[in-house]
């Protein structure tokens, strides 16, 4: 509080001294208007100082709160002066300054000039207090700054809370297979056909499925026995005429493809089938 008052008094002095734009610092009663070449504050320190702020809003809020002022009661003029001093120091020391700091400086300067302009009462009623927008922004920023601090204070994993875990028992491995639906299979086939239609060389022509399936079954039966399999063994009479025909067609197709051999030693001798050699 004392600090704040003193600061205020110095600023008053500074203002009386006029030409406040050039005031860089006030040491005791001395007003310094230009930076001494052997400035004591090392640039690093200033950079660290400014680095501690999360931008112009934060710096502004600091300048206000440092003096325990309510945001609503801020003297834009005073705060602007202080803010400008920081900015000037930074530029004088050729420190890179984020554009946002300069933008805020411009905003402050504008508000200050508007406040200085004499206004008629009629105008005052229509026109919003030039400080209002800045005050609103400051208050909102302060709200979320507090929210961030609240968040920081929440108990959280890694820092305040550790998940509890226990060593695993020996696990039972169980392999789960992917699920396939019939439609997946058919869509895959549809894609193949579509592609094949675009490329004539890959045209797909096929016999009826029952014959193709029977070809696999016959082949399996023939391969399961070494050597010759009696032709008649491959037929299942219980399947009826349809089944016999399908098996016959399958045998013919397999023979044509050279996958099996059909042999007969003589007229009316038993016919045998064996895997192609």
């Amino acid at each position: 509080m004392n600090d704040g008052e003193r600061e205020g008094a110095r600023l008053q002095d500074a203002r009386k001294a006029g030409n406040e734009e050039n005031v860089v610092a006030i040491v005791g009663d001395t007003i310094i208007k230009s930076l001494p070449t052997d400035l004591y504050i090392p640039p690093d320190a200033l950079e660290v100082f400014l680095g501690a702020f999360e931008g112009p809003m934060d710096l502004l809020l600091y300048l206000i709160r440092r003096r325990n002022l309510d945001i609503l009661e801020i003297s834009v003029s005073e705060v602007t002066d202080q803010y400008m001093r920081y900015i000037e120091m930074m530029t004088a020391m050729k420190l890179t300054l984020a554009g946002e700091y300069l933008a805020m400086a411009a905003t402050l300067a504008e508000i200050k000039s508007r406040l200085l302009l004499p206004r008629t009462e009629a105008v005052e009623e229509e026109e919003e207090d030039p400080r209002a927008e800045l005050v609103r922004r400051l208050r909102e920023y302060e709200r979320f700054k507090a929210a961030a601090a609240d968040l920081e204070a929440l108990p959280r994993l890694e820092r305040d809370i550790q998940p509890a875990a226990a060593a695993l028992p020996t696990l039972i491995e169980r392999k789960i297979e992917p699920m396939v639906e019939m439609k997946d299979l058919l869509l895959a086939m549809a894609d193949i056909l579509h592609r094949a239609a675009l490329n004539e060389r890959h045209a797909v022509a096929m016999e009826t499925l029952s014959v193709r399936e029977r070809m696999s079954l016959v082949l399996t039966a023939v391969n399961s026995r070494r050597g010759f399999v009696p032709f008649t063994d491959l037929f299942d009479v219980e399947e009826g005429k349809q089944g016999v025909i399908v098996t016959f067609l399958a045998l013919m197709e397999l023979s044509r493809e050279g996958v099996i051999e059909i042999v007969q030693r003589g007229f009316r001798a038993p016919i045998y089938v064996r895997a192609g050699t």
Binding site: V135, R139, Y141, A147, A148, E152, L154, I161, A165
Partner: protein, 227 residues
């Protein structure tokens, strides 16, 4: 059907083996048909969990319910002991990151522009990347304005990390004191829109079996941008 005690044992085993919180639905899914009472499997699980919680009273760890389910965790009061054992320092997060996170949490869904408007500085891409990588925020859509800026929201993983069950449990945003200046009071109304997120209904988190990284906005009705 399993005995109550057997259900408890199974739940304890599963929760101590899981590396993240497990939802009630996932817990129910581990049991075979017939293991749990047919009419009320959920109730059976809840009863068992309550029993486990009760049994741990006065112990160094607890059963905790967070946004994406249940987990065993060391009690906060025991953290000094744990840090004596563990040499690694917990990660620290910059104030800029925490402010950005707070803005997204309280104002969601929010764009980078929304955040910059409040903080007065541009949001560093590093901060957004860290938040996304941690799985604390996710893209929830685009605002229907020119440029279609990306909207961000917080996730279940965010709530899990901060030991919360829902956004309701976030500390309330500080209230704005009654204002003297009528002009400033106008601005107050604008600020209020941000606090809608607080009142959003975030109850019934345990029926959802979504992954914790899914944006909350999908689960919880959050304020939508005006069109």
């Amino acid at each position: 059907m399993l005995k109550q005690k057997e259900i408890e044992q199974a739940l304890e085993a599963v929760l101590l083996a899981a590396e993240e919180p497990v939802s009630i639905d996932r817990l129910i899914g581990l049991f075979d048909a017939g293991d749990l009472p047919e009419g009320s499997p959920r109730q059976a699980i809840r009863t068992a969990l309550a029993e486990i919680e009760y049994a741990l009273e006065g112990r160094g760890y607890e059963l905790k319910r967070v946004a994406s389910g249940y987990r065993f965790q060391i009690r906060q009061s025991m953290s000094p002991w744990v840090s004596r054992l563990k040499e690694t320092r917990p990660p620290r997060f910059s104030r800029a990151l925490m402010e950005t996170l707070a803005l997204i949490a309280y104002k969601q869904p929010a764009t980078r522009g929304d955040i910059e408007a409040v903080r007065g500085v541009s949001v560093s891409p590093n901060i957004m990347r860290t938040l996304l990588e941690r799985g604390w925020i996710s893209v929830v859509g685009q605002r229907a304005v020119p440029g279609r800026p990306t909207l961000y929201g917080t996730t279940r993983a965010f709530l899990d990390y901060f030991n919360l069950r829902s956004l309701d449990e976030l500390p309330p945003l500080s209230e704005i004191r009654a204002l003297v200046d009528p002009h400033v009071a106008e601005g107050d109304g604008e600020i209020e829109t941000g606090s809608d997120a607080e009142s959003a209904d975030t109850e019934e988190t345990d029926t959802a079996n979504e992954e914790s990284a899914r944006p909350l906005a999908e689960v919880v009705p959050l304020p939508t941008p005006k069109r």
